[in-house]
Each structure stands twice: as structure tokens, then as C-alpha cells.
Symmetry: D3
Subunit: 158 residues, 6 copies
């Protein structure tokens, strides 16, 4: 059985993330969304909120599970018996950092392979930061965030 | 069943290609190495030779098949019932071109997903061109090409 | 009066080019599409054909003119009294080359400014080469080329 | 009438900024320098100081106005009836981020077009951070900052 | 006599740094490792600790000296009579920033030349941040940090 | 004794090349300009002409020698007892290719180190191709090529 992990901060989940989730759910038998609990990053949404938003967004995807994790990604993979890490690539600057992390993870655990998906051409510019910046000023985020969580995001900034 | 296609010119296959073949053979149930028969590119090795060299190199990998193809990659995928295209990423310049091709292929056939693997840190600089350049002057190619085809490559340049 | 030149090979014009043409036509008073007559490049479409295809595509844009030119772009600018050169940017590799050309042109003629537009997110992967490659095998090019010239392109490859 | 906005933090304005200001002032009928009032960024110069320094530097440019703004750039454009956003491109890393922002802004407001100018070859390495770093240690900033504000910058770091 | 300076934060020194130190020690008559004392960066290791770790790692390299410095790199070069600055290049994003700094330093002091070495293919992904992240969770850092300081690094995170 | 080789096609030598030659001549005891005799590349200037032009340009630099070579660069280094290869870096796309070549050369010969110099900010856009393109149309190349060979270049295109 191929188990994949799609790790990230998801602060909050965007349409770009959602696109990667749907597409990579076809590539593995089980897909785990791993939400990184990194207090140093000062996320706007709490770890519980970030997990809840993704659960809401993925509730119709049968082989998708949402979990939070702390520590090293390779340790989380071992614990979940995952053999595939999934990452979205948006831009060259993403690419280099991601490549370094993938190579470091491969050194730490040879049984895990990182695969990259190109983000859809519809969402090349969507990032959690952009969503938050736009929501902060009350502008329209419906082209950037999944419909079912748009109100949850606005609420946060009131 | 997940069927993957790893397409390329493979003129000739290198240690970098071999690394991607082994690693991606674990990600799909069946892996097809698709050798592009593009007469416009003036390959040094004929299409038959390129197929033979890869067969020699992959003879111990059970779920790997080697085939030549002409025309569009998405048409070859349909014909083979493949749902995954595999590409290795070595550098930023690869990345942008590959991204464009992946997105174009996705537009042409929504059922095929392209996944990228980072090349191993041991072979970042290995390319078919480098192998041919070194072999042309009789220098040592054993760090760049699979051992079992080193002599076949030298023979070509005598 | 601001006169802009959008130079290129346009072999053939794509939806990506068309998008840049429409958007840049709003930025200047008169927009000249300058089709480069460079015999060294072995274009598939003749210079007359390339000019005709763009005229067909831009016939409803009032401030747009289509002309062929030979020689240096800065000389063509002088001859046309143009003070703006327009270029589309699709990717990082484009960017560096374009930047060098823009800076060289600026050295040769201080009165001409090059401005860059980002290609639309709908056409990041569209290039004349991709259109020709797809048309060559009779596959669907309607998502890549302006509708009114799709048949002209197919005819070329029969 | 074409109204352009050149947005930024300008903490403080550099010779690189000044070069973009002069060149883009020829491309539009009126150019507004929009100084972003973003308290989260902890600028060294206050918003009033940054506006004053640019006013000093641009006092001889007739069609240039300097204003501070808060919130989203597209909202500021609407308020000013601006139809063009101007950005300088220095490097590849700038480019990708700028491209994403330009595409997001285009989604939010279809009436505004972002145009990019390549920074002059004389100032490829000049940034506000570099100016501040050098001024902090009392070294010579006259090659990096407009002459008329060099003393104002030194004063800040005493 | 050619005196080189290899500047950095070295928080802590990695196998990637060590590789650059050894290789560049052959290029100059005397190599000074300049450890930047920048309190604004909140290093995990104190300036004294960082100097000590590098001394331990380089104790067998005869023409290498380790010193801390504050202020501008070009001033430190002048003080040490150094005419060469050495920098390692790992990735494209490094490259652009480094290029800008090298050009700025060249403007400030024409007598100093910056030379770049490509990082070894064995350590492309090794950075001080990665070492600290892995050590923080008690995972194996022996492939990333020089053997003789592995225990010193672990101790810091207990 | 440190012997450096600055290899290239130099078809023809430009002001950008000349800048690298002068600066790297200070870094080594003897600098050899290695002009690659690669008939496959169809140079405009013959190998003898290219060597002559560089000799003319460097006649006042005492520790510089100009030689042509065929075959692999690492073999030429061995033959010349050179321990340093010098390359200029102009742009990101240069960088990746150069990095791969440097790493391949290092694998083939551990005794040779490649060092990179950033091209001067005055010549970021100067390449042999640009010089030839401009000279072909009789435009002014004096900002791009060393003064003493400007006439030699024009003569070639008459």
C-alpha cells in the first residue's frame, strides 16, 4: 500500500493546496495531510483551526485523512508508514528550497520518496499569505480560498 | 493499476536516468520507459540502440518495460493506459521547461498527472551530452554511465 | 504620442501573444507589431504568412498595425518613432535574456524604454513551438491559438 | 489619461528607485509614488520621513506626486483612478514574487495593468537594506543614494 | 601575498562550510575565516562558541586563521590586508544575493575581488539551519556536521 | 605556483571577457586564456583570428598567455599544470550550466578547482553573440568590444 503525506502549515488552506490534494489523492492509496504544529512561526490560525478547515474542505475525498504533527517530517513519515511525500511547486524559488529539503529527507530516510506536482495554472499566485493579506482588508478572497471556508477566514480578521 | 511513463531521448541512458528509473519503479505498478524517436534531433545512438541499452541496464527491474514512441507524449500515454508521467529535475532551467510541458500535457489530457523527482545529489551534473563529450575524447565515463553499457558507449565513438 | 513596438517571430501568433497585444494596446497610443524577418531561423510560416495571420487576429483592434522588419530592433524603433518596446515575460529563463537585450537596446538608443508584461496565468505554457509540435500530429490546438487562425495552422502541416 | 502608481516601502529611496521613477515618468501622464504605510515591517524611517525624502528627490519632476497609502494596492489604484502599476525588476528572485503579485492584482482589478522596467545596469545591487547597512557603519553611501538626501540618511544612524 | 577571507555566520559550521574552507585554503597563501558578530540575527551559538567550533574543525589546516568581526566586510578586509573574498554557491537564490553583495563590495573597495566556489555535490542541501532543525529533534546530524563537533551541537539543544 | 586557465570560444573577445581577464590575472601567478577549437560550433572568426584578437587585447598584461586547445578542458589543465579554472558568471542560466561543468571537471580531475567571478555591472549584457549581431548591421559596437579590435570585427562582416 502506498501512503502519501502532504505536509504544510496551511495557515489557511488555499485553492492551490486543494488542487494539489485532489490530484495527489489519485496517486496514492491513502493521503495524509500533515499540518505542521510549529509555534515559532506564529500562525494566524491555531493548529486545531487549521486541521478543521482542511477537514471541511476535504470531507468528500475518501482516501484523505488530516493530522497535525510536530518534529521532523521524516519521523512523522515513519510513524505513519508513509513512503511518499508530496509537494507542490509554484515557482523557481520554491523549487530550490524544496529540492534541498527533499534531498536532506532522503538522506535521513531512504524509504521515503518526495514527488513534486506543478501547481495548476489557475492558482500560480495563490498563497496563504496572499489570502490573509486580502482578507485583512475585507477584499474578495473567493478566487483564492475554497468556498466552504471563505466565511471562516473573514471571521478571523474581524 | 497505476501505469507510469518515463519519457526521454536517452542518447544514451546515464546513471542519473538509472537513478530516476529505480526510484520511480517503486511509485507505480508498471513503469514504461518511453524512448522518443525524434529524427529531427540527430541522435548519436539509433532508436534501436537506445532501447537496447536501457533494456540491458534495467533487466533486473521486474515492473519496467522499454518502448520507443513517436508523436505526442499524451497520445502515447492514452495508448498505454498510463496515468502518470515521470520526470527528473536537475536544475532550475529544467524546471521551467518541464513545468510548461506538464501543464500543456495536462490541458491535452486531464487523466494524466506529471510527477517530478529530484535527481540524486550524486548525479546532478550527469547528462547524455556530458557522457558523449567525455567518451568522444576517450576519457573515463564510469562515474557517469551504468557499468554494463560503458563499453557500448566507447565503441560508438571509435 | 506614445508609440509602442511589440517585436517577435510570431511563427505563428499564439493566444499568449494575443493576450499581450490586447493588454499593451491600452498602454500606448499606437501599437506596432514588428514581425522579425530573420531568414537564419528557418521559420515554418513565411514572413508574409506571419504578418497575415496577425492582421487577421488583430483586425478589430483600432490602434494596432502589423509590419515586418529586418536588422536591429533599435533601428526599427527609430524609423517608426517608437519610444516603447513591449515584451511578454513567461518564465525566469525568458527574463534574463530579455533583461540583457533590453539593457543592450537602452545603451544603443536612450530614447527607447522596454516594458515587460507578465503573461496571463491562462497561457503560461503557450509558445509557438508548442503550437507547431501539437499541430504537426493533428492534435487539438484550439486552447493555444486564436480561433480564427486555427485552420490556417493545420493547413500548413498537411 | 494614463495614471501610473509606483508602489514601495522606500525605506529610504535609493538611486535605483530614482532611476525607475525618472524613466517611468515618461511612460504615463501622471506618476504617483505610493509609499506603503505598513507598521508591521518596522521601517527605520517613519512614513512621513520616507514621503519627505522622495519629495526632495523628485522636486524637479513635474508629473510626479508622492503619497502614502495603507491597505491593498488595488484599492489605492481605484481611489487614484490609476490604470498602471510600475515595478522595477532587479533579479530573478524579485521577478517571481512580482509576477505573482501582478497576477493577483490583475484578478482583483482587471482595469489595472502592471508593467515592469529592468533596473539600470548601474544600480543592480542597490537596495534600501544595503544603503542602511552601509550607512549604519558610517561608510560611503554616495554611490547608492541620491545626493540630496545622503545627509538625511547619515543623520538617522547617528 | 594573497590573503583570503571566508566570511559567514557559521551558526554552526557545517560539512558544506568545511569543504569550502579546505578547497579555498589551496587558492590563497593565508585564509581567514571571518565570523560575523551580528547580534541582530539571534544566533543559537554565541560568537565565542562559533569561533571555537571552527578552530576545532580546522586545527590541522596550517594556513587557516579564525577571527570574529563586526561592521562591514570591506572594512574587515582592509584591516586584514585581504584581497580576496571567498563565497560558496549552493543554489540560484544564493547566487543572486551573493552577486549583489560582491558588486556592492567591489564598489566600496576596488582592491578586493570576490571569488565563488561551487559547493560539493555531496553537501548541496547542508545549511546551518538544517543542522539545527535536525539536532533540535535529536535526529542524526553526522552526515551534515564535522564529526569532531557533533557532540558540541547536540549539547546545545539539550 | 598557481596557474589559471580562462577557457572559452571568444568569438570574438568582448569587454566583458576583458574585464574578467584583468581581474583574474591578479588572482594567479600565470593566466592562460584557452581558446576552444571546436569546429562543430561554426565560429565566425577562425581559431587563429580569435587567438590573435585576444593577444592584441592583452598585450600589456605580463602574466597572461593565449593558447588554443582541443578536447576536454581537464586534459588541457593537466598538460599546462594548471590548478585553477576561471569562469565569469553573468546570469542565473549561466550559473547552473557552469556549476554542472565545474562539478563534472572536479570529478574528472580533483586537483583542479573552478572559481567564478561575477561580471562587472558595466557589462552584464555583453556577449559575443550580441557583438556579432550589432556588427552585422553596422551599428556601434564600441561599448561592447575592446577599442583596439573594433575595426577587426567590422572588417569581418563586410
Amino acid at each position: 500500500m502506498r501512503i502519501g503525506i502532504y505536509p504544510g502549515s496551511f495557515d489557511p488552506v488555499t485553492l492551490g493546496h486543494y488542487d494539489i490534494i485532489v490530484r495527489s489523492s489519485h496517486l496514492v492509496d491513502k493521503l495524509i495531510i500533515g499540518v505542521l504544529n510549529n509555534s515559532a512561526k506564529n500562525p494566524v490560525f491555531s493548529i486545531e483551526e487549521r486541521v478543521e478547515l482542511i477537514k471541511k474542505v476535504t470531507k468528500d475525498l475518501e482516501n484523505v485523512e488530516v493530522l497535525s504533527f510536530e518534529g521532523l517530517l521524516v519521523d512523522f513519515c515513519k510513524q505513519m508508514n508513509a513512503n511518499v511525500i508530496i509537494r507542490g511547486l509554484r515557482a523557481v524559488s520554491d523549487f530550490e528550497y524544496e529540492l534541498q529539503i527533499a534531498q536532506a529527507n532522503h538522506k535521513l530516510n531512504r524509504d521515503v520518496e518526495t514527488i513534486f506536482l506543478a501547481t495548476s495554472t489557475h492558482y500560480p499566485f495563490v498563497s496563504s499569505s496572499v489570502v490573509k493579506e486580502i482578507a485583512r482588508y475585507g477584499a474578495d478572497i473567493s478566487r483564492f480560498a475554497p468556498e466552504c471556508i471563505v466565511d471562516d477566514i473573514y471571521k478571523k480578521f474581524k
